[in-house]
Amino acid sequence: MDRVSMGIAAFLAVVAAFATAAYAQKDKAQEGIEAYREALQDGNPAELYEATGEELWKKPAGPKNATLEACDLGLGAGVVKGAYARLPRYFADTDKVQDLESRLLTCMSTLQGIDTKPYVEAAFGTPPKEDMNALAAFVSGQSKDIPAAVTPTHPKEQAMYELGKRMFFYQGGPYDFACATCHGQEGMRIRMQELPYISSNKGAAAGWTSWPAYRVSSGQMWSMQWRLNDCFRQQRFPEPVYASDATVALSMYMAANALGATMKTPGIKR
């Protein structure tokens, strides 16, 4: 071998060794993160919010001094067990497709006589909107270990799914971001965080079945509406209106794509 090719060979060997080292380090980091997440599973503080949510569900409130126990979440008045696994869905009384939180607002308004505007407008995690996180924790907890079973059949459900899909790919803002920018490919990561590929069953399942979730980084219980709200913030979009159609449509897209996956709600996240 002449000196030049020896030099190149040596260079390539160094590059290869370096690349391997970087790769090994990455795998080790990934393993560490997985062990960390595993350690969090036992003792999810979301349980504390579930308890608060159950209390809110059963406590008379509002001008009508009524509880939410007669709320129809889609499986009939008062049926909570398994209801979250079948949301969003079409409701004849409102003639709308609703997710859990928009449906809860309906029940608060009709059953309890509560003006829901302050709930819609308040910041997440502040009164009175913080109640929605606890209620979402409670209701979603009653679908834990039940398979997600949203299949758009009503024409309005089908339309909502299509709108959600289009919303998912809709680019805008100064960064040209869409949901799909981060969640439109298999096996991608932002920083150390894996990004579920929402258009696939596996990816949609990873996302949909683990929210609402307790966020350890902020020590807060996040509902799906809060999750989506912060996605749009990171996307550099204007703020989605709480329980608006765009958010319900995206939930419909995710939930239907996650068909059959077991609900692990409420989850625990970084």
């Binding site: 590059v15 370096f18 690349a19 080292a21 970087a22 380090q25 990455k26 980091a29 339309a159 299509e162 709108l163 899909k165 289009r166 919303m167 790919f169 809709y170 680019q171 805008g172 803002g173 100064p174 960064y175 040209d176 971001f177 869409a178 799909a180 920018t181 981060c182 439109g184 490919q185 096996g187 991608m188 990561r189 932002i190 920083r191 150390m192 990004l195 749009f232 913030r233 990171q234 550099r236 979009f237 204007p238 703020e239 989605p240 209106v241 608006s244 159609d245 765009a246 958010t247 449509a249």
Partner: protein, 213 residues
């Protein structure tokens, strides 16, 4: 904001076609349910902080890339080229002919993801978000994988004029070489200023940079 004028120019050239399908009938997406979708967008968002509703208005590139099935198909090749050329035309080259700044500053910009959300103030410099998607240095293990690894970027490529130009164009307007790249158009959209881009150039290309060590 100069890019607004450019967007306006795009829209003039492209006309309303920007928001319509490229001919193939699609079961969803642009053309299928425009009225319902537009109405949903309008009713579902509100201004917050510096993030105003006008951010939902798409330029031609964004509209084209919002239907990835069509955009990536062979029938759209000519359209992609046209969009890439239009984006390339937006690139402003370094005003003083100098390409590289300080790689250490570049590392800080690459680390920062700050800026342009509704909870950000407009008066602080934006970050480049680079580590969100790219591996850049070996030291930072918390990096994304949406974009390719940039480890050894300059070492592999050197500092020839073609490399300098291609790298600058990619950072300034990533859509100049790939119409529907996931990468933001940092210069074109006013996310990063010229000095910041030079620092990122140095991070990638300076032999002393930790990228190339």
């Amino acid at each position: 904001m100069k890019h607004v004028a450019l967007l306006a120019a795009f829209l003039l050239i492209a006309g309303p076609a920007a928001a319509q399908s490229t001919g193939k009938p699609a079961p969803w997406g642009p053309g299928a349910d425009d009225a319902a979708f537009a109405q949903m967008l309008k009713a579902s968002f509100k201004d917050k902080g510096i993030a105003k509703l006008d951010r939902l208005n798409q330029d031609e590139t964004q509209a084209f890339c919002s239907d990835p099935g069509t955009a990536s198909g062979p029938a759209s090749a000519a359209r992609r080229e046209k969009i890439e050329a239009a984006n390339l035309a937006t690139v402003k080259w370094p005003s003083d002919g100098k390409w590289l700044g300080d790689w250490r500053e570049g590392e800080k910009i690459a680390q920062s993801g700050r800026g342009n959300t509704w909870s950000d103030k407009a008066d602080q410099p934006n970050g480049g978000n680079c580590y969100n998607c790219h591996q850049i240095t070996a030291e930072e293990i918390s990096h994304g994988t949406i974009g390719p690894s940039l480890l050894g970027y300059g070492k592999m490529r050197g500092q020839g004029e073609d490399v300098l130009k291609a790298t600058w164009a990619k950072i300034y307007n990533a859509k100049s070489s790939n119409a529907c790249s996931n990468m933001p158009r940092a210069g074109h959209m006013g996310i990063l200023g010229e000095a910041q881009i030079k620092h990122l150039m140095a991070l990638l290309l300076d032999p002393q940079s930790s990228v190339n060590k």
